[in-house]
Amino acid sequence: MSILINRDTKLITIGFTGKQGTYHSLQSRDYGTNFVGGVTPGKGGMTHEGFPVFNSIHEAIEKTDANAAMIFVPPPFAADSILECIDAELPLVVCITEGIPILDMVKVKSALKGSKTKMIGPNCPGLITPGECKIGIMPGHIHMPPQEGGKSVGVISRSGTLTYEAVYQLTEREIGQSTCVGIGGDPVGGLNFIDTLKLFEADPDTDAVIMIGEIGGNAEVDAGRWIKENMSKPVVSFIAGASAPPGKRMGHAGAIISGGDDTAEAKFAILEECGVAIARSPAELGERVEEVLKSRS
């Protein structure tokens, strides 16, 4: 089992014929994802790399039965593509694009409310259910499916490469992953930590969760309080940016300390209070997971 995606997921790529869209679509296909085609307005009717191209998302869904989309559209037009997916009632949209204006995402967030669509991102590496389905830009080979009789861990993260680091530490220890979700580094986006934690809590094959946060905002603090009240599975967490000075944006639009509760120190403290196992060093994530799995078994 897994969350959000599995071997039944049918994927299309929006912005398919561009360089990035093409490369990562083929990478997903090679990983074993059921990739069925793409959308590039104006290029409908074409065949690209052996897959059909459509002018609109509605048409692509009608013809391919797709239930998930991966977006590689440039920032000025990306929100428009997400809104089109919501209008087409596509169940899952994964937006990889970095640099979308915040107010565009505010509109998207408002449109997502009450819709049939779940969104991951933007500015994210995507998500992967190892051995079954990869939607995004992460290197597939570092992941490991849950092993026969072994434990399985879900991963949620605001960062890309730091997620790979966490996954690598798990795979090194032969701990499989149920699903790894990069929720993205922007201030306003789709699924947040709590939404994703709920899915992992309900997934019978996830035994523990790694949550990787950053400075800025209070999503991790809200998640900690939710975990304390609702989560039966152990959660291990690292917050990046303990050494970051206030007022400086650390690469991600969302990673900026604006005062008070959004420092790494404050987040670590609250998470610890809420019963989350803390990794003060990013190199300790694998060890912490091993510890919590042992203590609960």
Partner: protein, 390 residues
Amino acid sequence: MNIHEYQAKDLMKKFGIKVLGGQVAHTVDEAVEAAKKLDSNVWVVKAQIHAGGRGKAGGVKVAKSLEEVKEHATNILGKVLVTHQTGPEGKEVKKLLIEEGCDIDHEYYVGLVLDRGTGKVVFMASSEGGVEIEKVAEETPEKIHKVFIDPAVGYTSYVGRRLGYAMGMKGDVLKKCNKFLEGLYNLYIDSDCTAAEINPLVTTKDGEVLALDAKLNFDANAMFRHPDIDALKDLNEESEKEVEAAKYGLSYIELDGNIGCLVNGAGLAMATMDIIKLHGGTPANFLDVGGGATKETVEKGFSIILSDPNVKAILVNIFGGIMKCDIIAEGVLAAAKSVDLKVPLVVRLEGTNVAMGRKILDESDLEIITASDFRDAAMKVCEAVKSQEA
């Protein structure tokens, strides 16, 4: 992205927000000329830098004669102002705003920011203006009033009434304040702001509602649709190295430590700084080379890191996803050769094409300390710095 107060006020006028008459000046003579043109017998001479807390640092002075305008302009121009927002190195004043004075009745605070959790815009207002709002928030949080606005709904009149009454306004002043707030909200949305703060907003003895100060922040990702605002960027206010790095798609922030870092991905770059600190070292910078780095951008990253004389060792930490380790390895070699590297270099590679990358480094004649994992990398680079100090 930030702009100066005088630029913010020009923009506000376009949205119907009242500000005092004022003119920008680059020299003392221009300052006196500006004062002469304003129909007033009291002037305020204000340093234009991208930081708050100017008044306390001596960057804002009231002048009651043209001689005093000249005196203050002479003192403030060229001065390095150190405020709680500039950092200890301060900022040199290169421009002044000469503004007419006014008869203040009361000072308020109003601000707009985004609430990340709800995706709504929050309007904040307080009757305690003209002071550090962070202090008000901490000591008397009940004096800060908030209304959340869904951008799909937009500004409606009750927002201004709720905030205005909460601040103790009434009658004509309340109506004027409502119009002011509506203008500020429209500016925020139409111009893609990330923050808009008026501290203070003032009511005058003759019943006007005015912005005495203005601080606007814009979403850099949205500037493609606001070329007019983008043109207001003042490169004097930004770190030269950070601007240079951005040209190559590198995200660089200078810090005060001595271990240079070159990492792919913002989260991993922060985590690399963190782990260096945990092992007793101090990072000299944040540097994210991004997902699409090439040999050239890695070289550029090295030369920017090494332009900081404090750097005593470099740590390269790459987890290859889109980025392939062999490309990074070649970039590291080319960079180390072209910049004539004299400090110890620790490299940790993992991910896509890692075997090829490691082979390239192993076979080179450069002295590279290779690390087996994240922790090993941090320990080795901290050790390399310590051994120089010993």
